[in-house]
Symmetry: C2
Subunit: 128 residues, 2 copies
Amino acid sequence: MARTRFSPQRSLILEYVKQSTDHPTAEEIYQALKDCFPGLSRGTVYRNLNLLSDDGIIFKLPLPVERFDGFTNPHPHLICSGCGSVHDLKIDYDSGLDQLASESCGYQIQRHESFFFGLCPGCAADQQ
Amino acid sequence: MARTRFSPQRSLILEYVKQSTDHPTAEEIYQALKDCFPGLSRGTVYRNLNLLSDDGIIFKLPLPVERFDGFTNPHPHLICSGCGSVHDLKIDYDSGLDQLASESCGYQIQRHESFFFGLCPGCAADQQ
DNA sequence: TATTAAATAGGAATGATTCTTATTTTAACA
DNA sequence: TGTTAAAATAAGAATCATTCCTATTTAATA
């Protein structure tokens, strides 16, 4: 699965996603890297993010604006309804759920993805 | 919360979403209704879908392409990785999950949304 | 009936993402 | 080591979903 060639651009993008914890968008990654890698193009960022997630090396969250996660082991995400920020949620999530779902619907379940929506402390304070 | 005025267009759009079971996109709703309501515009479809989901009368799924659900009570969704179709999943889902998540992260959790990804029987057959 | 807020049609604008093309890089191997 | 061919790139055009704008229409109510 893994690519045979790893260009400097691809390595940089992968490294950035792996070390980030805020589930950046493609645009955010492009903005963060374009100065330390002059000439880097948006197309390259998008293409490599897709290749890397196709290969299972990073994870693409199925949200209206795509966000990327360096952790590929399944875990739920927490989305602030106020500011849209995304965080990992550290609760133990029933790993038998896919099996249960599979039995209920007859699909071959590959994975599941859960999003909890709520107000982060900052946005909750703003609403007072 | 509910709108005071209900135009024929809005009623039609609501009725369509309520009676459909395939979680249509805005475009699909527009295509389905434009012939029986000549002059209907995409703008009207999008605007009303947003108003209706703001009011909690329908539900907007947080997916890269937005899809709408006439059932507003929480339930997980099943997405085919092959054809992209969306179905409701009828498993009993722990209603204490929001509470658990809330305690773990300090957010005020409003709701959660779970997506199971897998191959529907048709797409699974195609892969043989 | 006149007023006015809400809603509409139609299309322009926006924003995210993908695609195209000409060029450059690099791995493999003669 | 030089050649070749596949893979990757930059730049920007194209696409697609969605929102916004404007002039017009509708409908509740005073």
